[in-house]
Every structure is written in structure tokens, then in C-alpha cells.
């Protein structure tokens, strides 16, 4: 809850952060689409120490029936952390934090998907955090977005996400855990539709001045677009592989294709 804060650390020195990054530099980001055979779409994402797997099922009939919306598909987003993915073992039962993140992440995806094409259905998005070091919710959202595209769900745009914020007096991109524990830390999870820059997820905690916010949002949008590049590349790679596979059909894959 309350973080132990070391007041003596210099979070930024000569334009470099504790881990050697520049102020506007992302941690290494690796995305792979289509990693699970049973899901309709899936994605593995590594972002610094964060390790995330996302899977999409649907659109499938929403059950029980009384939750169905006759005008559009529901988005059911479930963000969960493995018990061992955090420094202190997490209780296996989903907590309030996971519930809140799931809710707003689902809402963040809604604008991106052509939901009205699939009335009475649900699109289930499951994300599991296997390892963590600050920024897992934006990692989860970025992975979910790729998994949706991998599932062939028709979308207006990707959802690209990044953390932005403040530590040691500077506005910085993609805070890691040490930075999130800074005495003056501000954490701003942000997600946008990269083509229109529409903001679909935005939270903040910490003490922030409006003028700092102006810097942060500009940097955040820049960061989201970098993430967008990696997302697109992952999908391009998957698409090329799929084309290759189609050219050389693979019986083994066919034998396991019942789920799709």
C-alpha cells in the first residue's frame, strides 16, 4: 500500500535515469501474436521485466441470456496477476485492483471495436501477468489489442498504451518500479487510438500540477505511438507466417484446429 520511499536517490542524472534510459525512452518491448492454439486470438508481450499473455475468445453468445445487449457485443476484460508475479505473493483470489483495471481496460477497448456488428455476443479478453515491474495495465491493454486483431475482430484502430509520469522532478516515459516508488512519483496510465489520438484510458495518481500534465500528455502520446509501431510489426509478422503456412499446409496444425 504505502510505499517505502528513499529520499536520497537521484532519479535523473545527466539526462539518464537509474536504469540508464533517457527521459523519453521506453523499456525494451517485444510482442508476438498468435501464441496459443485454443484461443481465437492471442499475444505474448514482454516489456522490460513485465511479462504478459493475452487471449481473446469470441464474439460468442453472451450467457446468461439476460446480460445480452441486442445492439452490440459486450467486452469482458479480465486482468489477473499470477501469485508469483509480484514481490510479495499475491492472494490467488482476484482483488479490487484487478477488478478496477479490468473494468476500465474493457471500456478502453470498446471504442476500437465494431461492437455493433455482433449483437447479443460477448468478446472475452483474458490477460495474465506472469511477471511485473510497473506498468502492467498498459502492457495488458497493448497485448489485448494485438490479441483482438489476431482473433480477426474488426477494429477501427489499435489501442496503444503506455505509462507516463514523474519521478525525481522530471516528466518521464514508461516508469519502472523504482521510479514509481520515488517520493514525488506520479503515475499516469494512458491509452489512445493512435490514428486519431483519442484518449480511451487515463488514470493518474500522485501530486501533479497542470503544467506538468501538459508535458506528460504530449510525451505519453508520443510513447503510445512507439508502442503502436511494435504492435503493428507483431501483427505483420504473424500475417506473413500465416500466409507461409497456407502455402505449405501443415497437418499437425490442422489436427489441433478444432477450437478455431
Amino acid at each position: 500500500m504505502s510505499k517505502k520511499k528513499d529520499e536520497t536517490i537521484e532519479y535523473v542524472k545527466n539526462g539518464k535515469r537509474l536504469d540508464g534510459r533517457g527521459l523519453e525512452e521506453l523499456r525494451p518491448l517485444k510482442i508476438e501474436a498468435g501464441v496459443l492454439s485454443r484461443a481465437d486470438g492471442s499475444c505474448a508481450l514482454e516489456w522490460g521485466q513485465n511479462k504478459v499473455v493475452a487471449a481473446v475468445y469470441g464474439p460468442r453468445e453472451a450467457l446468461p441470456k439476460h446480460i445480452q445487449n441486442p445492439y452490440k457485443a459486450l467486452v469482458n476484460f479480465q486482468y489477473r496477476m499470477a501469485t508469483f508475479s509480484v514481490p510479495d505473493r499475491k492472494n490467488p483470489r482476484p482483488g479490487r485492483r484487478e477488478m478496477e483495471i479490468s473494468k476500465i481496460s474493457g471500456e478502453a477497448l470498446e471504442k476500437a471495436i465494431f461492437l455493433e456488428r455482433f449483437p447479443n455476443t460477448t468478446i472475452d479478453v483474458f490477460v495474465e501477468i506472469l511477471d511485473s515491474n510497473a506498468g502492467t495495465r498498459v502492457a495488458a491493454l497493448a497485448a489485448a489489442s494485438v490479441a483482438l486483431a489476431d482473433a480477426g475482430i474488426p477494429m477501427r484502430d489499435m489501442v496503444s498504451a503506455v505509462g507516463v509520469g514523474k519521478a525525481g522532478g522530471e516528466v518521464i516515459l514508461d516508469l519502472n518500479k523504482d521510479e514509481e516508488d520515488a517520493p514525488d512519483a506520479v503515475d499516469i496510465p494512458l491509452a489512445i487510438l493512435p490514428r486519431t489520438e483519442e484518449i480511451v484510458l487515463l488514470q493518474m495518481d500522485g501530486l501533479l500540477r497542470p503544467e506538468e500534465w501538459k508535458k506528460a500528455i504530449a510525451l505519453g502520446i508520443k510513447g503510445c505511438k512507439q508502442v503502436y509501431g511494435v504492435q503493428k510489426e507483431a501483427l505483420r509478422k504473424k500475417y506473413l507466417e500465416a500466409e507461409k503456412e497456407e502455402a505449405e499446409p501443415n497437418t499437425e496444425a490442422a489436427a489441433h484446429g478444432e477450437g478455431e
Binding site: 477488478m99 473494468k103 470498446e110 493518474m204 501530486l207
Partner: protein, 270 residues
């Protein structure tokens, strides 16, 4: 007195939402308010003697109660000298035909956590002052909110109620006997100090317009909402965007300006 059919109720809500949208497009709200105008706010303090602090807040017909109980508890292992707060809300089924009994849902959880962050991150409460004995016992301030009537904007009503209850809250008197602690019932050591008064102000987006203090019908018509907790000394301590729609960066800036301005007015009532 007729048997209300749920589907029928849904249709009524949809029709009302359509009217809200039409009206907002023409620059008007159905109840005649300006886009940035709050409904009448009333704050009633000390509504429960058993609470260590309590308040009841109405925003028009929206009605929320908050009570504080300050209780000795165990410190977190990584902050042995600090007390803590815990914020919860229950959407009581007496407040709306749409609320059901049951464990907290995602809407309740979101609201409680946003109100929590607005308070916690503003550092208005000195957690160090809530230490009883380092590593052994600390005060935990439970802030529990209940909806009485939901006519929209529960976020802001709850935030005001929580802060109003906290401004009244007192820390119980404690008798220490050896290594056990006992609260002296009905006696208090001191007031819970509040260094700042963070208040949440929520702006909704309806038909592309920014509208404050949405009533229930307006919430059904909204695309998205954005809440900002601001303090009297020019800080923001929490944001929360909700809903399936989006905001532009420019709209967010407007929401922030509105939040500072509205919170300033409301703070006078506390």
C-alpha cells in the same frame, strides 16, 4: 404500482437518453442547468453518533452518506510507522431499482478506489500521525459510503461526503495496558488533521459536449466521463476516465479547468 417489466424499464431509459442527447445538441439540459452547473448541494455533518465522523451529501436528488471509523490495526510490513485508510462504498438497493444486493461489483470498486486515491495521493492525511506503536499498532481510518438515492454523479457526491466526514473525524482515546490496546468508548484524543481538501469533480461527455454533475438520465446518455481530484493549493491527486467513449487531450484540459473551478466552489460548503 404496476408490475414493472425490466425490458419496459430499459426502453424508458433509452427514450430518456435520446431526449438528453437532443437537448444537449441544442445547447440545453433537460432540467435547465448550464453545462457546467451543479445541482444544489447540501452537506449535513455528524449524522451518526456512533461514527467517528460522518456526513450526508445531496446533489439535487442524489443522496450519499459517509461515515468514518478509526480503529487500531496492524501496520503493513513495509511501513511499520504508518497508519492507513480504507475506502469502501455500497450501492444500497434502496437507492435505485437497478442496484442489487451482493458483493461489491466493478462499479462500486472503481468508485471507491478513485475516491481513495484522490484522498490518499493528495497526502492530506499524515499517515505517520496515525502510528500508535511502531511495527505493532497503527490507526486505520475506514471511510464507508452508502448510496441513499441515485440520481447520477455518485462519484462527486461520494467524494464530497467522504471529505465532509473526514473533516469531522476524531481519533478515539486509547488506553494502553501492557501490550494490549483498548478504545475508551465515546472519548476522543484529537481531531484527525487534514492538510488539504481534495475533491473529485467529474465531467461527462454527452453528444460531444462537456457536461458537469450529470443526473441519472444524463449518465445513461453519456459517452464517457472524466474525474479529477484537485486540491486548494493547485495540485491534482487523481484522474479517472470511464465509459466506452473517448476524450481528446484538449477536452481533458477543459475537464481539468472545470474540476479546479468547481471544487473551489464546493470546498466553501465544507
Amino acid at each position: 404500482m404496476e408490475k414493472v417489466n425490466e425490458m419496459a424499464a430499459d426502453i424508458v431509459l433509452d427514450l430518456r437518453a435520446d431526449k438528453v442527447v437532443e437537448s444537449v445538441k441544442q445547447g440545453k439540459r433537460l432540467d435547465g442547468r448550464k453545462f457546467d452547473e451543479y445541482r444544489k448541494i447540501t452537506i449535513k455533518h455528524n449524522i451518526s453518533e456512533n461514527a467517528d465522523g460522518s456526513a450526508r451529501v445531496t446533489l439535487g436528488e442524489t443522496d450519499v452518506i459517509a461515515g468514518v471509523k478509526i480503529v487500531p490495526g496492524d501496520p503493513f510490513p513495509d511501513s511499520p510507522k504508518e497508519g492507513s485508510i480504507s475506502v469502501g462504498i455500497e450501492f444500497l438497493p434502496l437507492a435505485s431499482p437497478l442496484f442489487e444486493t451482493g458483493p461489491p461489483g466493478s462499479e462500486e470498486t472503481e468508485l471507491a478506489r478513485v475516491v481513495d486515491r484522490g484522498i490518499r495521493e493528495s497526502k492530506c492525511i499524515d499517515f505517520g500521525e496515525l502510528c500508535i506503536e511502531e511495527g505493532k499498532k497503527v490507526w486505520v481510518a475506514y471511510i464507508d459510503m452508502y448510496t441513499m438515492n441515485d440520481d447520477g454523479n455518485l462519484f462527486d457526491a461520494s467524494s464530497i461526503a467522504a471529505l465532509a466526514a473526514l473533516t469531522q473525524a476524531r481519533i478515539p482515546k486509547l488506553e494502553i495496558e501492557g501490550d494490549s490496546y483498548k478504545i475508551v468508548k465515546g472519548e476522543y484524543a484529537k481531531k484527525l488533521g487534514l492538510a488539504r481538501k481534495p475533491l473529485l469533480c467529474t465531467t461527462t461527455k454527452i453528444a460531444g459536449h462537456l457536461v458537469n454533475d450529470a443526473c441519472f438520465a444524463e449518465e445513461k446518455a453519456m459517452e464517457a466521463r472524466f474525474s479529477v481530484a484537485t486540491t486548494e493549493d493547485g495540485y491534482m491527486s487523481a484522474y479517472q476516465k470511464g465509459g466506452s467513449g473517448s476524450f481528446t487531450a484538449k477536452e481533458i484540459d477543459e475537464c481539468i479547468d472545470l474540476a479546479f473551478a468547481k471544487a473551489k466552489e464546493i470546498r466553501k460548503l465544507l
